[in-house]
């Protein structure tokens, strides 16, 4: 079984269902629109900020504010790409065609990852430029130290959040169960854990909190995070690898 055949087949699958288009479009639109809006509001708020807040004012990071919501659409994309196979029963047809389950799963994930990366990277650059345009005199330039890394990292962040969701969906199979766990986790629980003093130190090792460090250019004044931008992305990548490994092992072991 040539992997290129399976990759081609998975590309046909992903481009021929409507959910791919609407989840990715939603991720793009929400991330950009919310980023632009918050950038605009931040510009007007800047003069009211305290001295310390002015010091840690991070125009790059502010333009990515829409990602907290936009990532939810990326999660839906990742979940549906994998769990659609199960909810429709297509998995039996697919595995009869490609009995090498590792080839099947990783071809599917490779195609979906590639697509998420292209969309995520484009979104990241567009939201950066539009956001900076809104920030006016407080803007950051792509050439400033760390900015290009942050913008490129924004694309990686969106990609990894989708791939992590694919791994979780491969383990759980049901789209409802996967979304029911991932959505509240990333939208609520992770934020709560990260903002409550007692759990802050655990919260910062969660995939989204660690990963979003890559989009930060200006470090907050009293920041004691023990990892840097790439270290944070590395932590997120480890979560993703773990989810994929779990999904693969279960797929290999389970009856379809």
């Amino acid at each position: 079984m040539a992997a290129t055949q399976v990759v081609r087949s998975e590309w046909t699958k992903i481009r021929s269902v409507a959910s791919t288009v609407w989840t990715l479009s939603l991720a793009v639109v929400v991330t950009i629109a919310l980023g632009v809006l918050i950038s605009l509001l931040s510009k007007h708020e800047f003069d009211n900020l305290g001295a310390e807040d002015k010091l840690s004012f991070d125009p790059t990071f502010i333009s990515f504010a829409g990602m907290t919501l936009g990532q939810l659409a990326m999660i839906v994309f990742g979940v549906l790409v994998v769990s659609n196979e199960y909810s429709t029963g297509m998995i039996r047809t697919s595995l009869a065609a490609v009995p090498q389950r590792g080839t099947f799963l990783f071809s599917k994930i490779a195609v979906a990852t590639g697509l998420a990366f292209v969309v995520g990277l484009a979104t990241s650059f567009v939201t950066f430029f539009l956001g900076q345009a809104m920030l006016g005199e407080h803007r950051a330039e792509l050439g400033d130290p760390g900015v290009l890394r942050a913008v490129f990292g924004g694309g990686l962040y969106m990609t990894l959040i989708a791939v992590f969701s694919m791994g979780v969906a491969a383990m759980l199979r049901s789209p409802m169960l996967s979304l029911g766990i991932l959505m509240p986790f990333f939208f609520l629980i992770s934020n709560i854990l990260g903002n409550v003093g007692a759990t802050e130190k655990i919260g910062r090792y969660l995939p989204d909190q660690a990963g979003s460090k890559i989009m930060q250019v200006v470090t907050p004044v009293d920041d004691d995070t023990p990892y840097g931008p790439w270290g944070g992305l590395g932590i997120m990548a480890l979560w993703t690898v773990a989810a994929l490994a779990g999904g693969y092992l279960l797929l290999k072991k389970r009856d379809a």
């Binding site: 040539a2 021929s16 196979e85 039996r92 047809t93 009869a96 009995p99």
Partner: protein, 320 residues
């Protein structure tokens, strides 16, 4: 050729498929018959490597399923007509299967034409009727032009025209020298299409025989007689060496008897007959008799043999 060797599947305590050993040969339609829940679908899923056997082995042309390069070109299967993403159109559904097995794109149009779905090729599968879904599944099975075809309950829910089409398709595929393995829970359906029969019940092999042999062995013919002069007739028959069995309701049955012979005997002794009719037990009855002990879900409309007959409210009468 599909070869099963001691194939077994256990789910916890429950044995779904129990030590199945048989082979499915090319050039004929092999019927795979069993009541609902007998383990037919589980067996077929194991053949395709979807479910892992607890014990035993199954090989396709001597190879394990996951060892086949481009498996759709060896064996095409229709397991579940609904195993399709409803949001994908028929053409793309078949195209992604074709691409995964290196089958040329032109073949997709060919099989769509074969099953008569060309006009709805760009329609989403969720709008398909059961019959159209079944045809799409069969198109997928034919895609790789495989030497082996496997269909799980293909006529379920089809209209008479669709049933007729599938029967002819299976026969023509076998006539081309292919191996055709088709499951059903209806003996009557198998009698019309299958050349060979594999019968299972509760996961165990009950019969592996040619259709002709099965019919010969299991189609009991007998003569049914009703008469007001039962004792006299029994004496006369016994005198002529004919064994009659009383079957309740005042009827007698003579296994393998000739009605002419019995009628003439009765006339000679001036015995009145109310009925003298040749009877043939249907294949459906033979199948039910064969699988009677192994049916998983009985409808308990009659008391099982040997169980005490419940007589609610009868006790007080006897005591009083």
């Amino acid at each position: 050729m599909i070869e099963l060797d001691g194939l077994t599947k256990r789910y916890g305590e429950k044995v779904a498929v129990n030590n199945l050993t048989f082979a499915v040969r090319p050039g004929i339609v092999t019927g795979f018959l069993g009541p609902n829940g007998a383990g037919k679908s589980t067996t077929m899923r194991m053949i395709l490597g979807l479910d892992r056997p607890t014990a035993g082995d199954v090989r396709i042309d001597g190879t394990h399923y996951d060892g086949l390069r481009d498996p759709l070109t060896y064996i095409g299967a229709l397991l579940d007509a609904k195993a399709v993403h409803g949001g994908r159109n028929a053409f793309n559904h078949l195209l992604c299967l074709a691409q995964s097995n290196g089958i040329p794109r032109a073949r997709v149009d060919e099989v769509l034409d074969t099953v008569g779905l060309t006009s709805v090729a760009r329609k989403k599968a969720k709008g398909f009727s059961l019959g159209m879904g079944q045809r799409l599944g069969i198109a997928g099975a034919l895609l790789g032009d495989p030497r082996i075809l496997m269909f799980d309950e293909p006529v379920n829910g089809l209209d008479p025209e669709g049933i007729h089409w599938i029967r002819n398709l299976m026969k023509s595929l076998a006539a081309q020298g292919r191996t055709v393995f088709v499951s059903s829970h209806l003996m009557s359906e198998m009698a019309l299409t299958a050349d060979h029969l594999v019968v299972i019940g509760q996961g165990r092999l009950l019969a592996d025989t040619s259709m002709a042999d099965f019919i010969q062995q299991n189609s009991r013919s007998y003569v049914r007689i009703r008469t007001p002069q039962r004792e006299r007739l029994l004496d006369v028959l016994r005198g002529a060496g004919v064994v009659a069995v009383e079957t309740g309701g005042g009827t007698l049955e003579v296994d393998g008897g000739k009605p002419e012979h019995i009628g003439e005997l009765a006339a000679r002794h001036q015995i009145v007959l109310h009925e003298l009719s040749p009877q043939q037990a249907s294949l459906e009855e033979a199948f039910m008799r064969l699988t009677a002990e192994s049916v998983e879900y009985h409808a308990h409309d009659t008391a099982p043999p040997g169980a005490p007959v419940q007589d609610w409210g009868g006790d007080w009468k006897r005591e009083g």
